[in-house]
Symmetry: C2
Subunit: 464 residues, 2 copies
Amino acid sequence: MPSLRRTALDQYAERVRPEYERALRDLVEIPTVSSHPTHRADMRRGAEAAASLVRAAGGQARVLRTAGHPLVVGDFPAPRGTPTVVLYNHLDVQPAEREAEGWRTEPFRFVRRGDRYFGRGTTDDKGPALAALFGVRAAREAGVPVGVRLLWEMEEEIGSPSLEPQLRRLATREPPHSVVVSDAAWLDRRRPTSIAGLRGFIGFRLVLDTAEGEAHSGDVGGAARNPIAELMQLVAELHDARTGRVKVPGFYDDVVPLTRRERDDFRRSGFSLATYKRDNHLRLLRATDPALVLERIWARPTFEVHGVVGGYTGPGIKATVPGHAEAKVSCRLVPRQRPERIARLITAFVRKRNPDVVVHAEGASLPYEGSSQGPVADAVRGAMSFAFGRTPAFVRDGGTIGAVVSMGRILRCPIGFLNLSLPEHGYHAPNENFDWGQAAGGMAAFARYLEEVAQPRGAKGSRP
Amino acid sequence: MPSLRRTALDQYAERVRPEYERALRDLVEIPTVSSHPTHRADMRRGAEAAASLVRAAGGQARVLRTAGHPLVVGDFPAPRGTPTVVLYNHLDVQPAEREAEGWRTEPFRFVRRGDRYFGRGTTDDKGPALAALFGVRAAREAGVPVGVRLLWEMEEEIGSPSLEPQLRRLATREPPHSVVVSDAAWLDRRRPTSIAGLRGFIGFRLVLDTAEGEAHSGDVGGAARNPIAELMQLVAELHDARTGRVKVPGFYDDVVPLTRRERDDFRRSGFSLATYKRDNHLRLLRATDPALVLERIWARPTFEVHGVVGGYTGPGIKATVPGHAEAKVSCRLVPRQRPERIARLITAFVRKRNPDVVVHAEGASLPYEGSSQGPVADAVRGAMSFAFGRTPAFVRDGGTIGAVVSMGRILRCPIGFLNLSLPEHGYHAPNENFDWGQAAGGMAAFARYLEEVAQPRGAKGSRP
């Protein structure tokens, strides 16, 4: 089997670049916002467009119906006796509102500025998905003997509610070699990272109705209950906003302290507090020691408020008491914390503090506990070193990929992470973007990962 | 001097009804929203339209420029040796958003349904202002010997910032007999009320910036400060949302307990808790005893949250940490509480609890301490009994009319209140409306008030 060369892959990338950009434009300009029911038709269109791209790359593609949004499956069958690798990405995106969020371009227009691609979903996760597809094509064209199954989900941003039944249907008698996930960002553009742990997630909408509509605060102020104020008080009872500490009894019971080795890994990750603040546009933090910041975002659970609905939000003041309010909140969870237990604790706490508040659960995802050791981690290390010229650091990620835990369990194989996004790409933020350097590097990394699987290091060493 | 008769006034009202409705349409369809800078031209247009209506009724009208929005002054000069009465109304209105607030008709379209008139400003305060104008015309046509000055303000909803300098310019050597204010609602459509006390107001925007924009809570959650959560905690520290009790030290220092007589007056006011809840669309209250509810809305200060800006407010959850948040809050104040002292206490408290929060004051109005005794109260009692067939109850009002305190002090005369709005008119609420019964009754009440002033009860008794 011929070994892939970096120069050949660079030439391949330059050759397919116009195709890659056209494909990314096609996907970005379909607003596949999974959390909005109004986008149901877009989800379908997005899936069909993705399937066409798989077919154009020489694969077989299916769009599977689910109870929710569809799942795209792309197959490049394995030559007899060779393993199959599953490559997971997702094609659904976060909502985006140009005015409210301050986008400089239309969120659902693909805008190229030099080597940079702007638009919702460019980096999360349509750009990386297409880097995987073009990497697979490179490996197939070079004759790398391995099968590939692409799993392109469309419910990642809403906690993957339909994925598990689909995975059970797709599970094969012979488990795949591995699942490779590409849906996370490096800490710094100079240091590739892979992932040995993810946080889980559980969201809630806390809803309180006290009146049929708003009323004049001169008429009712003092007698009427104020639903926004009561939700504010409830949230303040649930956690200390200044320190972040959750005040619900039992919340921290299952949190495992970091080992010395994990702390050392974190320290070697290339994390820079200044860069982190700049890339995330942060001015004020709850901690300033870098090690503490990393522990907070990777290894500690959170309670977060995302927004409040209800009341007046125009200029100045409007002296009314609203009749309805909703607080959108969530917790990030760390390995060993179970979402259903946390949901039980929080719901019981809310019921006790303010029985009129209705708790609506909004998505739940288990945290993921991975490793930096073993053959899959070795293949990831080889592929990223090859593609980006530096050994990746195995860190954690504070985000959540609901699908990861399900895939490991149901497909019965280990998980590897080929992260391609950069902090400056603006994950879930306005002016989200991806860039050609990461796309081309991603193609090389995926191609090489497949080769590492087809011809493990031990095997290579035994060649004549 | 001929005494006004009820039947003649009823005939007058029926005769002018088409004119009244045309005039109300003219005013309602100009969106005189004083709190929005974009409505500056509408304010001017509204003032000019009002001045034309005064002229059409036989008065002289001026539109006075101020540092803010204009003031309309309409004069019906006094015959030599007779007193002048100042009639105060306002022509600016609360903001209104059809979709967000659930209006059944366009807020700035005048819609007549039978005897009911819908549109923002119909009851607060354009409808009552025009009832006053047509009442003046009735009195003039009947030869009642009294002068009238109409003061139509356009900054009432924003705390009357420009009124005081104008009042100083308009103050006459000989003080007017009285100022009559018509800008409040009865408790029940069957019992007219007048007012012996008003709450003051002080508004604040509490603003916290922690980042240049929103960030993904997977990336920053735990390390980033959350400005909405911190404002929630701050508001919970400022007051207890369940009881309404303000926790700022010194806040209640100047609150005077109700006298037994005041409590008795409140009890005789015709207040019905069921009606109150229904008319204000309230489901849940902080108190259920009617006397306690009245004390809370008329005689106790408040802390209220009107809305929260910042973060995500669409469907579902969006897992981002906002970089900016603003809480719109206010206090209603009771007689003897001074807004500037309360502002100082709250600002100092906020600075101590969360020094990064910026406090923006938004309007301040003194509370008003009035009386149910004296010649002006007697004339009000006579006018309302005449027009509505029942002696009015002297109650308080939980709302704020910033101009009232200024007028009493600067024009050096007592204040009377001829309330015309009803609870079901939806003050400051969606589907605001006024009705012909209150408009026609209002014309009669104003005409009779002028007659009561021209020919006091004592004088009448001495006629041959």
